[in-house]
Amino acid sequence: MSLRFQRLLLILLTLIIIFSAVLLILYNTRENVSYFYTPSEIDESDMLTKKIIRIGGFVEKNSFNKISSSSFKFRITDEKASILVAYDGILPDLFREGQGAVIEGSFSDNNIFNATNVFAKHDENYMPKSIKESLKDTGYWNKNYK
């Protein structure tokens, strides 16, 4: 075995190890390295522990309730499950029904999620206002939320 061949073998081995390690990491982080959980991922045990977590999803249509000028109630959904959220504070500009949002807070006793922070999550679609109007008029408007 010449030195050069040995070296080549070592490089190949290194690459294989790195590649498999990357696969291992990607496979395992898919569920774990989330900035937030989706409502359907939340189960009973999460509701019982009063830890601070983040939930991400869409603000359910027709669920937004303004209780007072700075106190709100709404539901966060991912079309499989939904969670009732209560929030006192200022909402970001982009916060709208049907729009994505990430809520930070913890569950209270009656399974209401008490939010301490609300972040709006905008999608990757950019479109001028006028075009949206015309799209709506012609009936081609079907935006699929992420």
């Binding site: 190890i17 790195i18 498999s20 395992n28 774990n32």
Partner: protein, 224 residues
Amino acid sequence: MISFLSKIGSFYYREYKLNLSGFQDILTNIIFFFVSIFIFIFSIGPEKETISLIGVGIVWTLLLLSSTLSLRKFYQDDFENGNLLLMRLNGFSYGFISILKTFSHFLFVQVPFLLSIPIACILLNIANDKVVYLFASFAIGSLILSCLGSISSSMNLMNQRNFLLGSLIVMIFSVPIIIFSVGIINMEKNFYSLMSVLVGILLIVFSINPWASGLCLKLSLENN
């Protein structure tokens, strides 16, 4: 083959002798670790719940900091008194020297920390069932830290002006380790998948280490 193995054995005999004579350095490192824990406890206040809430984070931060303290001695002494050259002439390639050195650092610097973790957990009111997770995550995490330490300290062998840069490099690349290993403790249900992420990072760092540090060692010895 047998002579090669006994050469490896004598390498570790040498490291053992060296570390035994410099045992007070390792001890100082550990004392640094504990004194910092005391300082954390006093600066946060006596509330046991708060301390146990952030305890895991404190342990990890301090472990990282105190293991970067010993980085300077990783290759520097052997580089300056020519022992690195002696090892090369004794038939070890630079990459292999870095692997041996990494394990030696793990054995003689990180393992004492590992053994002192349970005491730190008692001081910080960390729940007993979490200690096992912390222990497991640090066992892998510290090996990753040793590899990173090898890379960064071999890079900074010829850097006389700014030695803090070496610690900075280790700290930058240890961000994902801390994320995942603290995650292990806070989310017990995902233990195995998070653990395999750590193992994945270890594999990557471990396979990069001989190439990167070997090249850096070669460079520094050539231009010394």
